[in-house]
């Protein structure tokens, strides 16, 4: 099938998409946007977090076809320079495989709750697994970005 959608403000078209391809696969392998990561492809780790029509979703749980005619924003296009810098400054990045998903999820948190408490940060990022950092510096980074 054919998918046409807006990704990071640009119209993108993919031809001959197999019906079973996830949005994550389409973004990565059809559009070459490898920023969204594929750690579990089961909706458990949040490493593939993107916006679909403004809602935070796991791209691995959305079929590519569902994105047809809709608007997708990925880590490559999200307007989150402050969050991104805070993650670097706080030392919240080690291997970085979880980071793109956390950047998008943090951006989503801060637009809803500009000054979150630690409990709110934990609640909002509970769907983003990081195996490297133990999360302390991620919380620090979110606090930094909120300041």
């Amino acid at each position: 099938m054919r998918i046409a959608c807006t990704v990071n403000g640009h119209t993108r078209v993919a031809e001959n998409v197999w019906a079973g391809e996830s949005l994550l696969y389409v973004l990565r392998e059809r559009f070459g946007l490898y920023g969204s990561k594929n750690a579990c492809e089961q909706g458990e780790c949040g490493s593939c977090s993107v916006y679909l029509d403004g809602s935070l979703v796991c791209a691995c749980l959305v079929l590519g076809g569902q994105a047809n005619g809709r608007e997708v924003v990925t880590v490559e296009g999200v307007d989150a320079a402050g969050v991104q810098q805070a993650f670097v400054d706080a030392g919240a990045v080690q291997c970085g495989f979880c980071t793109p998903g956390l950047i998008v999820a943090t951006h989503d948190l801060l637009r809803r709750v500009p000054q979150p408490s630690d409990a709110q940060i934990r609640e909002a990022l509970a769907g983003n697994v990081c195996r490297c950092t133990g999360y302390a510096k991620i919380i620090e980074a979110v606090n930094m970005a909120a300041r």
């Binding site: 670097v88 030392g91 950047i103 195996r131 490297c132 302390a136």
Partner: protein, 762 residues
């Protein structure tokens, strides 16, 4: 960038923007996707493999079996016992049997289902204890004991006033790096291959691949691709040989990227174990003897089992003075998934046991558990149970007294801000996430008991038992656009720990140059050894230091004059300066077009093999220590645990990059917490039942409490800058401290990790 500064990641900006290329992000023109046919049986004889139907499928370009492996059909880090593709037998559920390459990954996956493999199913050996029975099937030609380490130290029949015994069981933990096993193999026109890969040790992969592919090593070139975590899971080959075989067969680039379920069978795990201990002490609490039997299940293939069991045995009694010890460490083959390296490497399993024993002993003696530990703590010069006199700072008592004197967290029932109000806003009911059971809303404090527990652990840094540990660094100084630039080239794997900053900081400190570039790791420079055993900062750091010093000497040789002998000169801020700090000449002027390049190998001091009968030897090069305190709340009615706080003290010798050191202590503690209370690969009849992140639970941001840290820099006189390896100690004692706290909260004799709700309620 200087040694001792908190330096931000050089790869940070690309990682936060999503442009950093991990091994799973690679692609090439006309690339094919590889997929692997895996055994559904833990133990079976292969009677036939029919690939004809799969070959005929649309989009399929190749289907390979063991017959297509041109070179060695077996590989392995220490013992070559694992088939590249199974022949004759499969020995674990998920073992690789055949390969497919196709245009689309789904075509490849579907074709794997059409490879017809006939099996004669055999009864699997699913317990290490069963593997040791005389009537057990022989899984490998040399029998089922992969290694038996015997330690016989001091009086073997010593007697003591107070004796405590315990049996402990450790579940199988997964490293679960978030980045899947993946890579891209690109064939060249001359029969060679380039592999872009996420691995912990490029050169050992290269050597193994050359053997498997029957190619000269220089025809198998490896380039590091971005690594999404490792923790031991990338020490062994996974898809490397498979991608290369398919690429060489099809003449096209081939990418393989495992799904998460496949990853669970595609790499080795932390050994599960059963440990029986007996501790004897005098009435004053001094240890008289420890006798222990440690049985680890190595699974179907050896991987690094022989080194893991050596560690489990050498550190069996913990960082304590113990004049008499009888230790039998046995690792056995079974038909369970293979086990090998994971952060802590053998020192994790035994720490649960020796720390539980110390608490038991304290209870039997009516002593405070911290006081008992301090009384028995190793010091500089203490003779280990292997006979090695431990040198350098040995701050075991210091670490324990530091963690025990840190302030304790407040009780949970304090009111916390309501959702949506934010910092300093109105206060409302207690935050559910602070309770055992979290937002499941299972308790508001009723039935919740608090406990506090302590643990201390230690392990070796670097390779042991006579292995020639070393690393290579090439440092090159030149002038680019009028500015001096230093390029550092090593093959060290950046797994997330920050070796790229460490290398830049060391070169920056030694050379006084501001523009430092660390080149991507590949096999065009000599081996760095693996990013494991907490060794890379020490060993590759040592190599970078040596090469940078050599470059510096040559520069100063160029700059010296009668007035300014080289011995009085140094480089600072891109200038050669004299003893008084005054500029002699800018580096750029001095060098002009000249390029100064030096390559150095660094070898730490030698180690020796354990005596096969007594286990006595100076087997290890450096030791690192950490202590943890855990505070937990347990819902005693439901058996749910909330780790409220962790506190740690660790001697890192010298913190090269303090920010990264903190990250290691925090991340390592989280992995310790995981094994203590949630992480276990459930293996039933030899088959993994929970091979997904839905069913294998990793600590989330809700599970990991704040960590208090006290980082000591006591300086090891033998190592570069006095540093000690940092990465593993945080994973060793964190979990045992948590389990001790759960015991304290519940009064239950917990013998098994991870602790499950029914262990606390039934």
């Amino acid at each position: 960038m200087r040694v001792g500064e908190s330096v931000q990641r050089v790869d940070g900006p690309s990682k936060v923007r999503g442009t950093f290329a991990y091994s799973s992000d690679l692609h090439a023109e006309h690339m094919l996707w590889g997929s692997t046919v895996r055994s559904p049986h833990p133990y079976a004889r292969i009677t036939s493999i029919d690939t004809s139907e799969a070959r005929a499928m649309p989009g399929v370009h190749a289907v390979l079996t063991h017959e297509d492996v041109p070179g060695m059909k077996l590989y392995g880090l220490e013992i070559q016992d694992q088939p590249v593709l199974a022949f004759d037998f499969v020995r674990y559920g998920g073992e690789a049997v055949a390969l497919v390459a196709a245009d689309h990954p789904e075509q490849a996956r579907r074709a794997t289902q059409k490879v017809r493999v006939e099996y004669e199913v055999l009864r699997p050996v699913t317990q290490a204890e069963d593997a040791l029975r005389p009537d057990a099937p022989r899984l490998h030609p040399d029998g089922n004991v992969t290694r038996h380490v015997k330690i016989r130290h001091g009086d073997q029949v010593a007697r003591a006033d107070v004796v405590v015994r315990g049996e402990y069981e450790i579940g199988m933990q997964d490293q679960a790096p978030l980045g899947p096993e993946s890579g891209l193999a690109v064939p060249d026109a001359e029969g060679g291959v380039d592999l872009y890969i996420a691995t912990q040790w490029l050169h050992v992969d290269q050597q193994q691949l050359a053997n498997i592919l029957a190619l000269q090593p220089e025809k198998v070139r490896l380039t590091m691709a971005g690594i999404g975590g490792a923790f031991g899971a990338r020490e062994d080959l996974s898809m490397q040989a498979h991608a290369c075989l398919l690429a060489l067969k099809t003449g096209r680039p081939v990418k393989i990227s495992y799904s998460r379920p496949e990853s669970f069978v595609g790499h080795v795990h932390r050994h599960p174990g059963r440990l029986s201990y007996e501790h004897g002490a005098n009435t004053d609490g001094m240890l008289v003897y420890v006798r222990a039997r440690i049985l680890l299940d190595g699974g179907a293939y050896a991987s690094s089992s022989t080194a893991v069991i050596a560690n489990a045995s050498c550190f069996a009694v913990g960082p304590y003075r113990c004049p008499n010890a009888t230790i039998d460490g046995i690792v056995a083959y079974s038909n369970n998934p293979p086990c090998g390296a994971m952060r802590g490497f053998g020192s994790v399993q035994n720490c649960y046991a020796h720390e539980a024993q110390m608490d038991k002993l304290a209870a039997a003696l009516g002593m405070d558990p911290v006081e008992l530990r301090i009384r028995n703590a190793m010091e500089t010069g203490t003779e280990m149970i292997t006979g090695q006199k431990i040198d350098g700072p040995v701050p075991v008592a210091e670490l324990l007294s530091r963690v025990s004197s840190m302030p304790l967290p407040a009780n949970v029932s304090r009111p916390l801000p309501v959702y949506g109000e934010g910092k300093g806003g109105a206060v409302g009911p207690a935050d559910l996430t602070a309770m055992p059971g979290g937002v499941s809303n299972t308790t508001h404090g009723e039935g919740v008991k608090r406990g506090i527990g302590y643990a201390v652990g230690f392990k070796n840094i670097g390779y042991s038992e006579g292995f020639d540990d070393h690393s290579t660094a090439r440092v090159r100084l030149s002038v680019i656009d009028g500015r001096p630039r230093v390029e550092v080239h090593t093959a060290a794997a950046e797994v997330g720990q920050g070796t790229v900053m460490v290398q830049a900081q060391i070169a920056g400190s030694e050379l006084g140059v501001n523009d430092i570039v660390v080149l991507n790791a590949d096999t065009r420079v000599g081996s760095a050894g693996s990013s494991s055993a907490s060794r890379q900062t020490y060993i590759t750091g040592g190599a970078v230091k040596a090469a940078a010093e050599a470059v510096c000497q040559r520069v100063l040789g160029l700059a010296q004059s009668e007035l300014h002998p080289a011995s009085e000169l140094r480089i600072e801020n891109d200038n050669v300066v004299g003893g008084d700090g005054r500029q002699i000449v800018p580096l750029a002027t001095l060098l002009g077009d000249a390029v100064i390049e030096e390559t150095r190998e660094f070898h730490p001091r030698a180690t020796h093999r354990l005596d096969p009968e007594t286990g006595q030897a100076d087997a290890h090069m450096q030791y690192a220590f950490a202590a943890h305190r855990a505070v937990v709340d347990v819902d005693t009615e439901l058996g749910l645990v909330k780790v409220v706080e962790l506190a740690t003290a660790q001697d890192v010798g010298k913190a090269i990059n303090p920010l990264a050191v903190q990250g290691q202590l925090e991340g390592g503690a989280a992995q310790g917490l995981g094994l203590a209370v949630m992480e276990e690969i459930q293996v039933q009849d030899g088959v993994i039942r929970n091979a997904s992140f839905t069913d294998y639970l990793l600590p989330t941001i809700l599970d990991m409490p704040p960590l208090r840290m006290d980082i000591l820099e006591l300086g090891d006189p033998n190592s570069p800058y006095g540093l000690k390896g940092v990465g593993e100690p945080p994973t060793i004692s964190s979990g045992p401290a948590i389990v001790a706290a759960i015991r304290a909260a519940t009064g239950r004799d917990i013998r098994r990790v991870p602790v499950r709700p029914h262990d606390l309620t039934l």
